[in-house]
Subunit: 186 residues, 2 copies
């Protein structure tokens, strides 16, 4: 079964409280919609600071959430000097500490993860695609640096856009770009 | 069949002529031996400059070669703003132009590639491991971000250390570190 790829660069989700700490009364204005309904990239960015180095221009995604979460690649993690675990979004068990710098303030929290490979689905998509009752799949990737990735989790939401989300390490390893097509193996 | 992983960070090989252009009469002193017999990491580094950004502290490997070659990852390529092809070492067909800055001079040449995944073998290793007559294999990678990589080329030399060489994109995608063990699929 074919599916298109969404490449997730490093980014941050924020709670309202943490947002106010970093941005004060600056509004969370939309830059562009993302493929997942309701989600957007804001015009705002933060700087991530680890024990080793910092990375600036890290996009704040919206809307605000019930948890603050920094999603980075393993390459970013080496650069920052942090050791984030691989986690599904919202699961911050063992998340590593990182400092986030905004224009109005700074927070230091255990919120850094490497996002697990995942496919966005909803009830309707699961039924249409024959994915009811399935937790995770593997995905075959074509091309000059082809291969297969395992442990790709199905992530349910109320209304989803059917898309495989990979971080920049996964994408660059296989020379994948946004909207490339790959194949789910059932 | 088990094989250990060697992770190749970005690096440069130089001809004697290009070496003199960059380093003048500075000697190519060894920092440490690499696993491949005769190969070493020198104490010297260069800066790579692309149209978009530059990357400093790029290691010069020794000994000098009959061709100059810059090996970078796709992640590096995006950062620099260059478009290197995936190539086996020594095959510079379509290699992208890059500027290399040393302490004594600068060269700008079409020498930037992404190194194809490869396994170092020699005649004896091929015979011992049942790899005679085989051009390329796939490799199964265990772990939390497991999977399979294809198009892993067998690279012959006079005397080799049996090792799978991956760039940092491949390694970081699968959370692999130097000397981790993976499995050749025949």
């Amino acid at each position: 079964m074919r599916i298109s790829v969404g490449v997730s660069n490093r980014h941050i989700h924020l709670t309202e409280e943490d947002y106010k700490e970093l941005f004060g009364s600056i509004p969370l204005t939309k830059r562009n919609d993302l493929n997942q309904p309701g989600m957007f990239a804001s015009e705002l960015t933060v700087t991530l600071m680890g024990p080793k180095r910092s990375i600036s221009n890290v996009r704040v995604l919206g809307p605000l959430r019930t948890y603050t979460q920094v999603e980075i690649s393993k390459t970013d993690a080496y650069s920052l000097g942090v050791k984030p675990p691989v986690r599904n979004s919202g699961d911050l068990l063992g998340a590593d500490e990182i400092t986030v710098v905004g224009p109005m303030g700074t927070i230091t929290k255990k919120v850094a993860i490497i996002a697990a490979r995942h496919i966005h689905v909803d009830k309707k998509i699961r039924e249409e695609k024959g994915l009811v009752g399935i937790d995770k799949v593997s995905v075959r990737i074509p091309g000059e640096k082809s291969g297969i990735i395992d442990n790709v989790w199905l992530k349910d939401s109320e209304e989803a856009y059917f898309e495989l989300h990979l971080d920049t390490d996964d994408a660059n390893c296989f020379l994948l770009k946004q909207d490339d097509e790959v194949e789910i193996i059932l």
